[in-house]
């Protein structure tokens, strides 16, 4: 369970990205965070795994006060929280399986990391993760030869390989074409249902959020202005989240 209690976040340059965020997300929920660019969507995600520090307030994940974590404790905490990026963040020169195997690196000893020695069990588990997202056949292909959708799946397999309880996805489909974007969204839905992993994703396209996610959180200028089931959101509420601007939809061509 993720719980925000009166969370504020101010960047060193004085910009206040989050104002009094209160939020409760149960294990296994599938949540979309929508809003304009710069509204604070990314900041919310990055506070959960402490890629950013919270300035004020309390943020707990499964009863652990995230802000109090330090060094090795913080790294152990992050093992349970997967993260997916807009630009995939794969080592494109390496093969898919090597990228998936890096999920095991934080638990390995110095010399194993140094020489890149992985056990048979680790390799089998990595292959299973690739199988879960349906690209087992590309295991030994270099990532720069894969399409955008396939690369995002490799990234998803890497995250699954760390066996997380929560997946944070920062604009996971923003660099993909409409068809691939839908496929990747379906992958997220399946993983959410099959493995009971909580998924929080930032998403630019309102139609994808409404179609695939259970719960929608609307963020506007650092404040939560909507929080409820995807089915109940009205056009007025959407307009309010997007500050009167037209909500971006898939295939608009930005």
């Amino acid at each position: 369970m993720i719980e925000f209690e009166h969370v504020y976040k101010t960047y060193p340059n004085g910009f206040t990205a989050l104002k009094d965020i209160n939020l409760k997300i149960e294990q296994g929920e599938f949540v979309a965070i929508i809003g304009l660019s710069g509204a604070g969507k990314s900041t919310i995600l990055r506070c959960i795994n402490r890629m950013h520090d919270v300035t004020q307030g309390k943020l707990t994940v499964d009863g652990v006060d995230v802000n109090s974590l330090k060094g090795a404790e913080l790294r152990r905490f992050r093992r349970k929280v997967g993260m997916i990026f807009q630009s995939f963040n794969l080592v494109t020169r390496s093969t898919a399986i090597k990228n998936v195997l890096t999920a095991d690196v934080p638990d390995m000893g110095f010399f194993r990391v140094l020489f890149g020695i992985f056990s048979k069990e680790q390799k089998l588990r990595a292959l299973e993760s690739l199988d879960k997202v349906g690209i087992l056949s590309k295991a030994y292909t270099r990532c720069d030869q894969l399409s955008g959708g396939q690369q995002q799946r490799v990234a998803l397999a890497r995250t699954l390989n760390q066996n997380p309880k929560i997946i944070l996805a920062d604009e996971p489909v923003a660099s993909l074409d409409p068809i691939t974007a839908r496929q990747v969204m379906q992958d997220f839905v399946r993983i959410n249902k099959e493995y009971k992993i909580s998924i929080l994703l930032n998403i630019h396209h309102i139609d994808l959020a409404l179609q695939y996610c259970d719960r929608v959180i609307g963020v506007r200028a650092g404040e939560i202005v909507f929080d409820g089931p995807a089915a109940t959101i009205t056009q007025e509420q959407i307009d309010f989240v997007y500050n009167g601007k037209k909500a971006p939809r898939l295939g608009d061509g930005e």
Partner: protein, 283 residues
């Protein structure tokens, strides 16, 4: 409207001295044409040439008058004394050994330093600037001067040459490498940190796979240069082919010199082709 157009173009100090020409079309639209810098640049280059000619006392007529001397010499060079080959092999192998060892030592030292001199990995501006300045200083020193100083300190021989090549390699490879490291994708590093890896683990599994091929490629390139450079180090007593070259020229044995140069040529060509092939495979 016209004024808006004109002010959009950024004016440099040059344009302030030589005012740009404003061209107005019959329909009232206008554009500006900056004065060309070419005349000034050409004048400066001509001035530099004239001054340089006076300073060096270069006289083409002497070169033409005495050109037959060089032709005579070239003819001898192109008739290498094959029997001399036996005496070339040992110093040639010395030269290659010096290059290999020097390259390896220099490259090994360059790796950690270049990582510390890259702004995207090392956030400490002071360390970055200090390291870069030291590297720049090392690169300004001519290899022959380094070799000479090494020979004076450690005695004549291959050790001085190896040391000189190591220092030279270190300076060049470290610079090429930090420039390459700054272009790598830091996304995977961020992903590793988000997965709970510490700085070393994240760097080793996210950055090193990107750096390694570039590093090897730079090292091979530097090895090519080193074989050529180390051939002359013997001139100041640092071992290798240079001693033989110096000796042959001293004795005016140009047929022998031809043999030395021919062997060097063949070896350099072989190494260059192999290295180019390997570098092609790396990228």
């Amino acid at each position: 409207m016209d004024n808006e157009n004109v002010s959009q173009v950024k004016l440099t100090w040059f344009d302030k001295i030589f005012k740009p020409q404003v061209i107005t079309l019959p329909n009232g639209h206008s554009t500006i044409r900056r004065r060309s810098r070419a005349p000034i640049i050409i004048a400066l280059v001509l001035l530099a040439i004239v001054l340089s000619l006076r300073m060096t006392g270069f006289d083409l007529s002497i070169v033409i008058k005495k050109f037959d001397k060089l032709l005579d010499l070239m003819v001898k060079l192109f008739h290498p004394k094959w029997s001399f080959f036996g005496k070339v092999v040992r110093p040639l192998i010395d030269t290659i050994k010096m290059s290999i060892l020097g390259t390896v030592i220099g490259c090994l030292l360059a790796l950690p330093v270049s990582v510390l001199a890259s702004t995207n990995i090392d956030k400490n501006r002071v360390i970055v600037s200090v390291l870069r300045f030291i590297l720049a200083l090392i690169r300004t020193l001519p290899t022959l001067v380094i070799a000479l100083v090494c020979a004076l300190i450690f005695g004549l021989g291959t050790f001085a040459g190896t040391l000189a090549i190591s220092i030279f390699t270190f300076g060049i490879v470290a610079k090429m490498l930090y420039e390459s490291i700054e272009t790598i994708d830091m996304g995977p590093f961020e992903a590793m940190e988000a997965m709970g890896a510490n700085k070393f683990q994240a760097f080793w599994s996210a950055c090193v796979p990107q750096i390694l091929p570039v590093y090897l490629s730079h090292s091979l390139y530097c090895f090519e240069m080193n074989v050529r450079a180390s051939a002359i180090l013997g001139y100041v007593g640092a071992g290798g082919l240079g001693i033989t070259i110096n000796e042959r020229i001293g004795w005016r044995d140009y047929e022998g010199l031809g043999m030395v140069l021919l062997t060097l040529f063949v070896v350099v060509v072989i190494i260059e082709f192999t290295s180019e092939y390997l570098r092609g495979r790396l990228s």
